[in-house]
Symmetry: C2
Subunit: 220 residues, 2 copies
Amino acid sequence: MGNKALVVLSGGQDSTTCLWWAIDKFGQANVSALTFDYGQRHRIELECAGQVATLAGIPQAELPIDTFAALGGNSLTDIRIDIEGKSADDLPNTFVPGRNLVFLTYAAAFAWPRGIRNIVTGVAQTDYSGYPDCRAETIAALEKTICLGMEYDFTIHTPLMNLSKKETVMLAKSLGAIDAMAHTHTCYEGQRPPCGTCPACILRAKGFAEAGIPDPLLAS
Amino acid sequence: MGNKALVVLSGGQDSTTCLWWAIDKFGQANVSALTFDYGQRHRIELECAGQVATLAGIPQAELPIDTFAALGGNSLTDIRIDIEGKSADDLPNTFVPGRNLVFLTYAAAFAWPRGIRNIVTGVAQTDYSGYPDCRAETIAALEKTICLGMEYDFTIHTPLMNLSKKETVMLAKSLGAIDAMAHTHTCYEGQRPPCGTCPACILRAKGFAEAGIPDPLLAS
């Protein structure tokens, strides 16, 4: 029971690598995946997550989150509670500070009745993100919070926390996850094949190039 | 700016007391309220929250949370991820372990772009709840988590944390909040006037009786 793991699977390169990492560490029969439908601009992300889970032979559940869009500003019921410095309309529709806190808390709430103690997430504090809710210190505080708040012995695993994109690609290779990358989605523009010019595409290409491994998404 | 406060307002006795506490501490012009619509079995709770906010002259926003109902078990997309020991159908439709973690994280996400640093919640570790996500230790860990995760200096205030129900009623009286209690909702059965026999009604009645104050909800 202490060996079951839940991977937060977005359908991107990082969470897909984490899925293979979890299978390697906990065994395929012990791993499941959770994907959030929070009104992503590009629905292809959800399709990719489903394809990756199927390819891995892993059960996957999808949870809806309508709150992010409401927090984004357009659905607020009382405009007298002003946004500081900018109008609610200036915030992207699904922008939520600390979004990963919500994702991981829901993952824990999902894991709890299923006896799953290990939660795996692809957040990283290196190279590209810089989001404060992706840092090791934040994740450690959150782990403590959910353990206390649910009286349960959770471990949040962050295998990519200190890896560069190059190192993540190399980890994926060592885990046999490169073929699965053909089913992942990275492009900010939601294009498939990817646009190749948005910051996400460029970062992904740089990681594969530095690792000396062709990106199967581009070959497909 | 550091003086603005957001009260998590459910429409119950405790959060209503907290609203008056926040007005007393931060000033009416600095206080706003946030209510969550998570599919409560009794919609009257939402009506009560609205009435209480209006009575207090405080702006109130309502945020939808559809995820709880999905977590409750009926909307899961992959039944191979089993619930331990019981079927998904055995869990109440809106049961979520650590629910207050979600509420307070969303409250922080709502407060953040509005420059609100103070979050007020009516959770208490005495007398009646015993939920691990209501304890002081959990709230302290969560406060640290949201401060780190959103890079912002939040304070979570829990004025009722160590009060008995009697003491909460006496605090409400000292704050001039007793009249507002006529608009609050407590009854588990969703009845108005309250059933008087459910555990919540009995606990509420005991608090008012021990404080020697008539409950205006029963007189109305």
